[in-house]
Structure formats: C-alpha cells, structure tokens
C-alpha cells in the first residue's frame, strides 16, 4: 500500500501525562511522527495536539483508532480540507546582507523580528512546503540556526 502524509489533530484532556501517552503510542506501535505540536485550547480543559505522520492507509486508520482509544482523548480529526501553517525562526550573522534577508522574508509573508549586536532573527509563518522553500533560500546567507515550530492545522 502506498504511503501517504497525513495531518491528524487530537483534542485531549489537558493533563500532565497526556503527551507521553500520545508519543508513547507512536513509539510503541512503530508509527512515524514528522512533527508534533501541542497547546491548550483556550477556555477549556482540553489541549490540541497536531501530528504530522506518514504511513499507508491501514496504518493511518490504526493511528486514529488507537489515539481515540486513549482514555483522555475527546476526538481525533484526520484532516482532509484544512488550513495548515508552520512557523520558522532563522538566525543570521549580523554581517549578512540585511536588505536581501528582508526581501526574502517579504516574499514569504515574514519579517525580521529581532536584531542584536552580532545577529539578526527572521520569522516566517506559512504552509509547510513554503517553509521548506524559505529555508532553502536562506542557505546562501549562512544561517547560524534554524528552528521550525511544527505544523498546526485547522479544518475548513
């Protein structure tokens, strides 16, 4: 069976061990995690976990079922039609051409968010594919550090 990329959201009780339950499930059953983000759902006792995974359709089906089976899981959404965004922070040395970096950020709806004595930090939030492209484009300016935030998604 063909491998597919899937974005899955799990709405879970916001309790201390819940992330360990989810990540342990993936590790124990041999499922892949490409990225995982988690944050509280405002105004509730729930957390929203977004997981990007890959596997054949049978594996994806098992992942959603096994996630659902965890006691603290309220619901699992296997995203089909979604808006999907990821954030990245890139640190450049101060001697990099700032106007080039600014132009690059503009092209990806981002900007320079911090400048220090010896470095400058750019931020971009966009679709994961575009984040990849942005990171590729920054390579010629010799970034010191790149930190990706992981995918968050919302069903349309």
């Amino acid at each position: 069976m063909q491998k597919v990329r899937r974005v899955i959201s799990a709405i879970v009780m916001n309790e201390s061990s819940v992330l360990a339950r989810v990540s342990g499930l993936f590790a124990g059953r041999g499922y892949n995690i490409d990225s995982l983000t988690v944050a509280p759902v405002p105004g509730s006792e729930m957390s929203h976990i977004t997981i990007v995974t890959n596997g054949n359709q049978k594996v994806i089906e098992q992942i959603t079922k096994q996630l659902n089976k965890l006691i603290p899981t309220l619901k699992v959404i296997e995203h089909e039609e979604m808006v999907e965004k990821e954030m990245v922070l890139v640190k450049f040395p101060i001697d990099a051409p700032l106007s080039d970096i600014q132009a690059l950020c503009d092209a990806y709806n981002g900007g320079i968010v911090n400048v220090g004595v010896d470095m400058v930090i750019a931020m971009v939030a966009d679709e994961p594919v575009r984040i990849m492209h942005f990171i590729e484009a920054t390579q010629r300016y010799k970034p010191i550090e790149v930190v990706r935030g992981g995918v968050v998604a919302i069903e349309r």
Binding site: V12, G24, K58, K69
Partner: protein, 562 residues
C-alpha cells in the same frame, strides 16, 4: 467525612464490593496496610511475590467476572507487578492495581524504591493514574473501577504517593463517573447489524469465529442461540474455550496454530466469517493472505481498533456482543438452516478424517490422556487454569470445557508462571469449585513460592505437573525447525516436587501410571490441601496438529515421525 488517603482506599474498595485483595506490603504502601489491618470489609491474601498477587487478582477476575484487585509497594514491588499487568492487558481482564509511590516531594529525585510506575505501565494498562492530590483520590478510585470493567475491559493502575495516603481530606465517594472523553459504544449500528444478517442469509458456508470477547461480554448463551437458530458451525479461539460447550454438535473445536483439522479447514474454506470478540491474532490466522481467503467478514467487537487491524472487514459492528446479538437474532428469525446443510456435512467429513486424537501408550503416561482423564472425572465441575507451553495446548485441545470462565490461561502474553497464582485467585472467587492448574515442569517453578500462600490460606489448588523433563514447547520447535539442537531446554535436573510441596505445608504425589494418577487425583480432592502432582509423561510427545509459524492455516503438520 474526614479521613486519610489510606482509609479512602479501603473505603473505596468496600464501596466497590471488593471481597478479596491480593498483595504484598512495603514502605510506600504501609499507610494503606495499616488501614487494612484495622478494617474487616475485605480480606487480604499475602502472596509471596507481587507478580503472583497480580496473577491471583487476574484469575479471580476471570473466574468470577468481577474486577480483580491487587496491591503492591513502589519500586520493585511495582516492577514485579508489571508482568501481571501486561498479562491482564493482553487478555482484556478487568483489574485495579494499587501501588505505593514515594512521597510527592521525592518524585523525580531517584529516591529509595522510586520508579516511574505510570511511565512503565503505560503500554500495558488500559489506563493509569499518578495521584497528585488528596482531593483527586476518591474520583480516581471510582474512575479506575469504571474504566477497568467497562468497554473493552483491562487493568488500571493507581499509583499513590505515600504522603497522600497519610494526608487527610473529605471523603465523598462518587456514585457515578463523569469522564467526557470516555464513552464506550455498546449498542452496535442497527443498519450494519441488518446488513450482517442479510449476509448470513445469503452465505453458503458461514462460520462462527468466537474469541475471548464472548466470555468477557458473558454472551455465550446468545452465541449458542445464534449457532442453534441458524445451524452455523463454530470454531473457538484459545480464549473462547467453553463458550459453545464440548458436547455441542455445532462446535468444531479450537482453530489456529494448534487447532484441529476441521476447524482450520473450515476457516480456510468458509465464505462468511462471523467474528465475535476475536482479534485475528497471528497464532490464530497463520499466514494472513491465506486466512479465510474466500470469505466476507462480519466483525463484532467493542474495540473499534480491533476492526480491520489485520484483516479487512466487510461488515464492521462496534458494540457489545450481547447487545448486538439480541438484535441480530431478531433479524435472523426467518433464516433457512437447510442452506448450510451441505457445508456442515463437509466439515463433519473433515472431522472424521482427522479427529483431535492421540496415540495412547501402555508403557508411559501420555499428557493428553491425563487431561482427558481429568475431564472424565471432573468435567464441568472443575475450573482449569494453565501455564504456558505444551501442557496449555493439550489442555485446550483435550479438556471437555462446558462453560465459559471454566478455562483460565494467559493467551495473549503467554506468561509462564501464571497458572498457579491464577488458580489461587480463581479458587478464592469460586470456593465451591475444584480448581486444577495444568502445568509443566518449566512453568510451575516460575511461581512455586505460592505453595506457601496456598497452604497458609488453605486454598486447595491441585497442580498437575505434566513432567517431560523438557521445556517442552521450545523443545518441540527445536525438533521441528532447529534440527534437534536442544539448546537450554533439557530440564533433567529437577527438584523433588513431593518434598517441595510438603516442605511448604502441601502434599506431593509422584505419578507414573494411570492407576497412580486416578488414586492421586481422588486423594488430592479429598485432602483439601494444595498439592503438586508430579506426573511423569512421555518425554518427546509433540502438540499436534501444528501450523508452522507464518504458514497457511490449511498446511498443518498432522503427525510427526521421529
């Protein structure tokens, strides 16, 4: 009412109707043991190893259908309990295990006897809790019992730091649970049930494939009614032995790696599998691509994750078997049973061709004879537990199980050392039944310290050790697949089982003939004491039929020439 956490634990157990707790004290759980000392709402059985405590609670649960309860201390007490948790988890047994933990302030400091119990037990419990505040304790205990027994049952661990068992708080035991994220579906989709009934009516060669879920759902009467109404033949998994009843003409037997010829052929040729509470385990299916190759599949299971996990299912029904079957039976009232007549005749021919049998001997006791003899003498009056290995398979093949919960064994995890403590738990839960542990000379030593427990509490469990001086099942694989290189399976060096039992306050028998066996069994039942019956059996007997691991179900080794 104000009380400390330890009292709350006792009060909760009493409120849940717990009559027996199996356990072992230690530093972090001492506060609770202090309250156990003061109360008389339930009895406590002191096993001589935490693993045995958990297996005993498990055996109690399997025999009675109630939630089994075990109690252990932190650190090694808990880690010893892990095998018991995993055993219960794999077979979906309702159980609550309460473990002590180091005080909250010491958690994470590598304190004495500290281990991350919830971390270790996460993959082998249905759910687990680390209690972090006295206010949460009553709710957590209530939830633990609810989660253990509802939906697909399973073990739940409640890990309680020592300072919380000492702390005082208000005890109001909740009358019901409210877990918004946990709502098992019992009902089953009506449209799917209707569709399944139509598939049954259209089939020519339907087959009931019964799993342990039938036992857990106490659905065996409805399953028998379904089989009877439609005249559909049935096969049982290892976990479902006893559901149909040995004398039921519609029962073909057990299927799988050591299933009988008719059962495995039925599964290979059926055009409609009606799976009830079975999970298509690899020991059942053999080579997946050849399993029930010509069949559509109806799968009733309370756990949606079991459906289409290994085999694609055509009629998935998520629900409790009893609830689903009640509806299904209505839709099937007008079923034409003559449709399956030819199919039943084929299967009868298969059964006559290669019946489940063995070659008896006059020179040496055959293990199968011993099991059939116990069946003749005790039949449905006995509860049979077993350990893991050849004796387990022979018991499953040859004992005439007549009712669910009569057969207790570690099917999923395959835990050697399970049988004896499980028998202790079963006997405590069903004191009116004769409880027999059919075991081997490998397995029995893995929890033999329970001789002391059984003697102290006068729990007369009869251990029949089918002694072939080998780690028999591994030896059998070495014979078949490793060119008879018997690596570390020769158990010729043996204890004196009779003396061993006697030294712990039990009785021992050495048996080498049929006459001796009959005499010993009668005596063991009369004596009402725990016993080790050391039965010397044929050394190199193999469990047959056998489907080699990974092979197709229809390719069975039916006999093996030395």
């Amino acid at each position: 009412m104000q009380m400390n956490g330890a009292q709350m634990v006792c009060e909760a157990l009493i409120a849940e109707g717990v009559k027996t707790v199996f356990g072992y004290p230690g530093g972090a759980i001492m506060n609770v043991y202090d309250e156990i000392y003061k109360q008389d709402g339930f009895e406590h059985i002191l096993n001589r190893h935490e693993q045995a405590s958990v297996h005993a609670a498990d055996g109690y649960a399997r025999a009675t259908g109630k939630v089994g309860v075990a109690m252990v201390t932190s650190g090694p007490g808990f880690t010893n309990a892990v095998t018991g948790l995993a055993t219960a988890y794999m077979d979906s047994i309702p159980m609550v295990v309460i473990s002590g933990q180091v005080p909250l302030s010491l958690i994470g400091t590598d304190g004495f006897q500290e281990i991350d119990a919830v971390g270790i037990s996460r993959p082998c419990t249905k759910h687990n809790y680390l209690v972090s505040s006295i206010e949460d304790l009553p709710r957590i205990l209530k939830e633990a019992f609810h989660i253990a027994a509802s939906g697909r049952p399973g073990p739940v661990l409640v890990d309680i730091p020592k300072d919380i068992t000492a702390e005082f708080g208000d005890f109001i035991y909740p009358s019901e649970v409210h877990i918004p994220t946990y709502k098992p579906n019992y009902k089953g989709n009506d449209r799917q049930i209707k569709k399944a009934s139509e598939a049954i009516k259209k089939a020519k060669k339907p087959l009931l494939y019964l799993g342990g879920g039938v036992v857990l759902s106490d659905a065996s009467d409805f399953v028998k009614e379904l089989a009877n109404l439609c005249q559909i033949p049935a096969v049982e998994t290892l976990m479902a032995r006893g559901v149909m009843g040995a004398k039921n003409p519609l029962l073909l037997g057990m299927l799988g790696m050591h299933g009988n010829y008719a059962s495995n052929m039925a599964m290979s040729e059926t055009d409609l599998v009606i799976s009830l509470g079975a999970r298509f385990d690899d020991r059942v299916t053999g080579k997946l691509s050849e399993f029930a190759k010509y069949a559509d599949i109806i799968h009733v299971d309370i756990d949606p994750a079991n459906i289409s996990k290994l085999v694609d299912v055509d009629y998935p029904i998520v629900g409790d078997i009893t609830t689903v079957l009640k509806k299904l039976l209505v839709y099937l009232e007008d079923v034409d049973t003559t449709r399956y007549q030819a199919w039943r005749e084929v299967l009868t021919r298969y059964d006559n061709l290669h019946p489940q049998s063995f070659k008896d001997s006059d020179e040496v006791l055959m293990p199968q004879w011993v099991i059939e003899r116990v069946g003749e003498l005790l039949g449905e009056d006995a509860i049979i537990t077993s350990d893991v290995g050849q004796h387990q398979m022979w018991a499953a093949q040859h004992y005439p199980f007549d009712r669910p919960r009569q057969w207790i064994n570690s099917g999923g995890l395959g835990t050697m050392g399970f049988g004896f403590p499980a028998a202790i738990g079963a006997k405590r839960g069903c004191p009116e039944k004769t409880v027999i542990n059919i075991t081997g000379d490998g397995s029995i030593l893995m929890n033999m310290q329970e001789l002391v427990t059984a003697s102290e509490y006068k729990i007369p469990v009869i251990n029949i050790i089918l002694n072939n001086h080998y780690l028999g099942m591994v030896r059998q694989w070495q014979t078949f697949f490793y060119d008879k290189r018997y690596s570390e399976t020769d158990l010729s060096y043996q204890p004196n089982y009779k003396a061993l039992a006697e030294s712990c306050g039990g009785i021992g028998y050495d048996v080498t003939t049929k006459e001796e066996f009959d005499k010993a069994l009668k005596d063991a039942i009369d004596q009402d004491k725990v016993c080790f019956m050391n039965v010397t059996v044929s050394r190199l007997e193999n469990v047959l039929p056998m489907v080699p691991s990974g092979g197709a179900l229809y390719n069975m080794l039916l006999d093996h020439k030395e």
